[in-house]
Structures are given as C-alpha cells and as structure tokens.
Amino acid sequence: MSTTTEADTPPNAAAKPDSVVTGTELTRRYGEGETAVDALRGVSLDIAAGKLTAVMGPSGSGKSTLMHILAGLDKPTSGEVYIAGTKISDLNDTDLTKLRREHIGFVFQFFNLLPMLNAEENMTLPLLIAGEKVEPGWFEELVGKVGLKDRLEHRPAELSGGQQQRVAIARALVSRPTVVFADEPTGNLDSTTSGEILTLMRDSVDSFGQTTVMVTHDPRAAAIADRILFLADGVIVKDVAGATEHDVIEAMESSERK
C-alpha cells in the first residue's frame, strides 16, 4: 500500500538532496475564532541526514508542535511535510502509521516502556509490530552501545530512570529509522544521568550516522547538537550550526528578548 502512495507522490522540488525530513511554510492553529491559538506561524526547514538537530525554545514556542508535525503525529493547518521523500498530507491513517513504523523512531520524556515486557522485548517491540525479524549482529551491537547487556531480562519497574531511557533509545534505533525524534529525553532525569543519555545520543549519530531531531529546553542538551533551531512564538528565530553550552544560553536569552 505504501509503495503505491510513494509512487503517486511527485518528486519533492523543495527538498535539498541530503534532507530526510522537510517542512514547508508550516502553520498550526488550535481552536477557532477569537480563542484560536497559532502554535506555528510559517516554519520551513530541512533536516539533514546523519546530523543531530536540536529544536529549542521556551514553553509555548511551538517546538513540541513542530516535532509532532514533522514526525507525522499531527497534521499542519497549512504547509507540507515530506518524510523520506513522501508527502504525508496525502496519507491515510494506516499508511501514515506504516510510514512512521518504517522511517521514524521515538524517544519520549517519560520513557513510555510497556511494563509487562522485559528490556529486550521493549527494545525489539517495533520489529514485533512490523512483523520483522531481529538482526542478531545489529541487536548485539545496539545492546552493547546502550550498555544493558546484563539487564535484558529485567522489567521496566526493575530499572532506574536512566536505564529505562537507554532501553527507549535502543527501541528507537532498533529498526534503523530514517530519523529519530527525541522529545525532552532528559526532562525526567537527574543531571548525571542526563549527561550519560546525551552522550549516548551523540554517539548514536556519530557511530551509526543516525539522523536525530531533539526537542529540548536544556542548554546542555542543545550543546551536543550539530545544528540548533531556536523557536519563539511559532517561528524560527535563529538557526546556528554547533554551539557550546554558553553560546546556547546566550542565544536563548537573545531570542527571548526579541
């Protein structure tokens, strides 16, 4: 089904050659009439392959909305989203779900592991859902990378927060998606554990070339990114390539002053 849809989709002129996710003139309006809220007011962007892109901004800036739209979880009020060359506005729910299944991995703030499955089962859940086999070599490498070799039989309730988020990261990576979206991945962790998780995410980009988009308001998290987009009031106010934590904080303050 998805193949026919892809075939129907015209080649995307707007996308850059190395872009895996593209958004053009995205707007998102919640509600109607006088109480309507514009979460996005025209955002265009390309996510480059093999890079870690951070999306920053204060709460209410529209960064979560942008991520949900880019990940195919929400639809824009206007504008177009292309994921791996497919225009998603034309897809029905099943095709969109299958597109997410194939091309997108998620890391959530609250981990969202299934409590009745053990770590290994949680990691391989996307493959189970897609009806695919686990590649033994790849899975071992992944387990080694997230450092949970001796925790595979444990249920989420028997793991620390950091360990749970590692399981979640392995789950996002296991199907080698086109892009991983991480929504405040350190938002529910203490600072030491946050550091470890950020290192792991950077590592997955460097070792596996995993395209990653991370929404965060933690300057430390943004500092590991290859590119940082600053959002305020539903528009991109700044787009910087790589920055230290200090630069990020300055950039944030300047963008908020605007």
Binding site: A71, D74, R101, F108, N112, L117, L128, I129, G131
Partner: protein
Amino acid sequence: MIRFALRGLAGRKLRSVLTALAIILGVATVSGTYVLTDSISSGFDKIFTSIYQGTDASITGKSAVSQNATMDLPPFDESLLPRVRNLPAVAAATGGVADDSTNLIGKNGKVISFGFAPHLGFSVDPSQSRFSSLHLVEGDWPGAGEVVIDRTTAQKKNIHVGDTLPIEAQGAARPFRVAGLVKFGTTSFDIGGATLAGFDLRTAQKLFHKEGKLDQIRIARKSGYSTEQLLDQIRGILPPSTQVRTGQNQAKQDASDTKSFTDFLQTFLLAFGGIALFVGAFVIANSLSITVAQRAREFATLRTIGATRRQILRSVLYESFAVGVLASIAGLFLGLGLAKLLFWVFGKLDFTLANTGLPLHTRTIVVSLIVGVLVTMVASLRPALRATRVPPIAAVREGITLPPGRFARWRAPGSGVLALLGFGLVALGLFAHGLSTAGILFAMGAGALFVFIGVALFSAQLVVPLAHILGGPAAKVAGASGVLARENSMRNPQRTGSTAAALMIGLALVTLVTMLAQGIRHSFYDAVNKIWATDYAVTAQNNFDPIPVAVEKPLRQTAGVTAVVGVRSGESRAFGATHSVTAVDRGASRVFHLNWKNGSQAVLDTLGRNGAFVDKNFAKDHHLVVGSPIGLLVPNGQHPVLRLKGIFDPPNGGSPFGAITISSATFDRFYTKPQDLFIFLTVKGGVNSATTTRLDHALDGFPNAKLQDRDQFKKNQASFLDNVLNILYVLLALSVIVSLFGIVNTLVLTVFERTREIGMLRAVGTTRWQIRWMIALESVVTSLMGAAIGIGLGVVLAVLLIVRVDFLVLAWPIGSLLVFALAALVAGLVASIFPARRAARLDPLKALQYE
C-alpha cells in the same frame, strides 16, 4: 461527602453506567419474574372467578386418593341432578361433563394445538345461561352432532359456522357440524391458547365415555336461603364419593393447579435471577476495584488535604449506594419490559399465557430495590476498604500502586481452602447418610456457593499458566497483537481472574446441566435397549399426553401384528401413601424383557383378575414377597386386594411401570376413564415400510396418535430433555450476558488506564487494526479462561452428581462442550468490539499526553 460522591459518579458516566448494567440486568430478571407470574396468576384467578360467577354451590366427585382437577375426579350418577333441583333452597341447577383431551382436527388432518395449552371439551346447557361464562358470538348453541368452538381458534384456523369439524376425544375422530362460535367471559380474553369445544350434554357424555354420569353440578341459591342453608340441604342428599363446595371455594380449588404452576415458575425464574445477580456482584466488585486503583491519586489528594480514612470509605460507599439505587430502579422498570417481551415471545410461539397487563405490586418494588442495593453494597465493600489504604504520598508520586492488603498473601491458599470446603459440603450433601432433605439442600446450596466464590477468588492463580496456553496460538497467528494481548492478560492476574470468573459461573452451570441431561439420556437409552423388545410404539403427538384406549382396536386388527400392549396409568393409595398404578395387556411378555428377581416373563401375561408385580425397591420397602396381598384404594373409593406375582429389577434408566402393575382388564374395572400412556407393538418380520404404512392407515381415525419405531420412540421420549435444556440455556444465558458486560467493563477501564501506552504503540507504528486485535485477543484470552475454568468446574460437579445418582450415567457431550468453548470465544470477540474501537480511535498525540 455525598455531594462529592455524586459528582464523582457524574464525572465518570461511562464507567458508572457500565458498572450499573450488571445490577440492572439482575434486578430486571427479579422484577420481570414477579410481574410475569403476577400477571399470569391474576389472569387465571379471573378465569376461574368468572366461571363460577353465578354458582353458589358446586358438587363434584371425590377422589379417595388425591385432590385432582374436577374433570379428573371420578364422575357420579346423573340421577343426583333432579334430586338437587327438588331441594327447597335451590333456584336452579345444571349438570355437566368435561374432558381435557378433546382434540379438534384441522383441515390438514392434524390436531389443532397452540403450545402446551389444553384442548378442553365440555357440555353446555343454554337453558341455564346464568351459570355460563361462555357467550355465543355467532350461530346457535349445539344440538346433537353439533359443536360450538371458541372464536379465537376459529379465526386462527379459518373455521366457520356450518363447517364440518372432526373431533377426537375418548374414541376415534368423528365429524361435527360447527353450530356456533363462543367467547369466554365478557371481554376478549384469551384462555392461554386453549381450544374450547362445547356439546350438548348427551353428546358430550358419549364423547367422553361418561354416559349417564356427571362431573359437576352447579347450583344457584333461592333468595331467602343462606349459602350455608343451601350447603346443608345438599349435604343431606349427597351420595358417598361426591363433595360439595361453595362456588368461591370451587374456583379456588380449580385454580390451585395453575397456582402451583405459577408458583413453580416464579421460584424457578427467581433462581436464575439470583444467579445473574450473583454474577453481577462479581462484575461490580471487579469494576470498582479497577476504578479505585485508577483513582488512587484522587484519594491520596483528598487525604493530603485532610480527609480521614473513614471519609474516603464513606465516599466510596455512598457512590455505590447511589449506583445501586439508580441501577435497581432502572432494573425494576426494565423488568416490566422483560415481562412484556416474554409475553410477546410466548405469544409468537402460540403459547398464549393468561395475561392481565403488567401489574407492579409493592412486593415487586420492595424486593427489587432491596436486593439490588444490597448486592451492590456487599460487592463494593472490599474495593472501598482498599481505597482507604491509599497513602497521602501517592498524590505526588508517578505510577503509584495500591499497597496490598493485610490478608493479600492469604488470598490464594484461603480461596483454595474455601473451594475445597465447598466441594466437601456438596459431597456431604450427596453422600452422607441420614441427612434430612432440608439438610441435604442446605449442604449442597452452601457448598455450591463456596465452590463458586472459592474458585472465582482462586482463578487469579490460574491466569498466568492459562494465558501461556491460550495466548500461545494468539501470538503465533496475530503477531504483535497476539503477543501484547497475552502479556496484557497476565499483567494483573487478579483483575483478569475476576473478569474470567464471572463468565466461569455461567459456563459451569451450563456445562453441569448439559452433562446431567446427557447422563439421563444415555441411561434412558440404555434402559430402552435393555427392556423394550417392541418394534413400534404409539404415543400422543406431543409424546406425553395419554391417548384413548380405543386406539388399540384398529391396531390389533392390522395384518402382521403379533402383540398390541397398551400401558395404562393411574393413581392409588397403598401402604399409607399415594402410588402410581400401571396396567398392561396380555402379550406384554413379547414387548418387555424384564429382569425378574422373583417370577418370570410369564407373569406379564398371567396377571389375571388380581395379579400384580412390583419393582424390587417397592417390594423391599414394604416387605413384600410373591404371594403377599396388596390392599389398594382406587380413586372411586373401591378397595381391590391384589396378590403379588412377581418382583423385577428395573434398569437405572427407568421403566414404563409404576410402583404397582396390574392387568388392563383389572385396571379398567376400577378406573373410570382408562387411557393409555403408550401402546407398544410387535409385528411379524420386524419394522418395514409395508407394515408401517398399514399401521399408519389403521390410525387414520386418531390424528393425535403417533406411530414410531423403537429408535424414534427413544429419541422422542428423550426430546423433552432438549426442551428443558433449551429453556435452561436461555435462562443461564442471562448470567453469561451479565458476565460479558463484566468483560466489556474491564476492557474499557483497562483502555483508560493504558491510554499512554496505546499512544506510544501508535507512535512507533502500530496500526489501528493491530490495536483492535490486541484488545480483542485479550478479551478472547479472558473469555477462554472463563470457559476453561467453568467447563472444568461444571464437569467436576456433574461427575460428583453422576457418581451419586443411580439413573445418571457418565456420558461426554463432547460436541456441546466444544460449542460452549467456541461460544465463549465468540462472546469474547463481541465483548471487545466497543472497547477495542475506543482504543483504536484514540488520537496518538492526545493519548501520549494523557495522564
């Protein structure tokens, strides 16, 4: 706190309604039963009151043996009527005869019959219209060779005044001219689908084989005399074996048969309502436990702002009280609808019940409300206590679980012990000697209750192993949905166990009755195979009504027939108790092969004028040996003395013989209206189509007589079991439906609880259909658990009974059991439709942000 509880209910409408449904259905059964039976019995009261409207006194025969319906009492000589008329206190009197198997033959040659309603025949006396409750609506009253029939039957079967209508009573069918149509009473009131046929007295007497006799004299009092004076004068001339009653008492007496029928119906239906409520209690307890767990944070917040445990307890109990009251009221009125529906269903089946609208007596309201509220409150007690144990700290913690209760670790062994205790009590009731009937019933009833509660509580222990077995195929076939369904069903064994247990109860009872019916059927077949050597049998079309003995004559005259043996049946008193008497014709030795303890096959043919045989238990109970005298008292007051000629050992599956069996010739001398229950035949060369055709032809004059070969006879006689089973299935289906609402409820609550998980699953690529299947398969795994435990329990209980009861043999209704398992599977799928759709429709984004 009350306002808080009510607000809580309103805020969780769907959950509250789903919880209440279980109680609504149970209460509806109770109130529906009362309404239905009240309506029927007041209908019958109306009929009998109107029959005796103009009657101050009534004379009937008197049975020396028992109180029978008027038309089954021995009739008395009609010479009594003129003597009654001559009494000074009598203004008018009329005599009549009646018969309850006066079959009208339709245009298709078959007996006109509506359900199980009787075919009433009687004499009419138009000269004494003050006594008549019949009104002529068309034509004339009948003369010789004529009949009046009820308008309803005439309309249904397109019969008109002037038509010729064959009628079969105690002899072969004869044609009658329809002289007129009548209706009963002043309203268009239906007597429960009965067909009515009225004749003039002489014709009726002949037709019913009561020449020169009367069944009843009805008398009107002359003004100036009191009823007491009237009765006194009548008593003065009353011959023995007759009795006199006031019209009112006679109406009551006539109604007593139907009264015991409606009483039985009421108890019977209430029992099933009770079962449904019992299942409903499980469903409610389970739903409330889940809701309380989900509201842990809410209770904790209340605790932090100063609510005491007692206040939390009260708030939950108020809530269930409100649910109980509202559900009981709803159930009460749903019961009215249920009664209406049942009347409609009976009507569609041509089984019109006397129906006087939908009376809602105070008793119905009171019982329904008390039972509904009580069951709800009892079921909510444990969840309410659990709610009080939520610590205030739960308000600020993510993912708090309720602390286990003090007795949690005793739950598994405790429930096991309870179940075993229950089995012990059932066994005690079955096998212990010297218990009174009440003791036995109490032991078995309490035992069954303990078994069900114990097994239901214990079922949580069975969830994990059963989920592995039942979920295996699901995981294989349905991939991710199957695996997740299996794992989900094991997440909270307590919850899955309780949900399955509700279904378990219904299925255990269904299995039990099926096993018992199969046991009876096989033991009956076995008995037929052992003692019946008959080639053919003749019974009434409905397999159980008696047929006129006149049927025997044409059969005897058919070529190739070697023996025709009718089996008569009647009541008698002997050794201080009422016993059934049967009678057989000479030639019985060809038809029956009995296992004789004393005597031989020859006894069957040589009973003579006073010979009798009995079964070995009767002989033992009354210390009888061959040659012992048996003093009998028959209904007309005569005292024949019989000699015991033989003692036989009946097969466990029963025999056609009553306690005492005599020759037909003797029977016909002492019983006024001999009828055959069965007629058995042997023929030259066994069953073949030529003989069958000849015999069918011989029965032409008797449309109500049905010829069947031995195998057909076996099946036909056992067919009532299917009817009984079907009725029981329908009634038990109610508790199964209640338990299905339990499954729906658990699934809906579970979907609420797992909203975020479902959001995550959708985000990482699970399709809506996969979500649907996940919920559906979890439901199926749960329902199959209920089926596995229920069928298992039903089998165990059945085996206990079968071991104890002689006339039951162990026979496996494998087909039925498979159907039950399949039905459970389908039921699981059906129960999942609504919750699965809710789950699949969740917006993944909103679901992910759900708390």
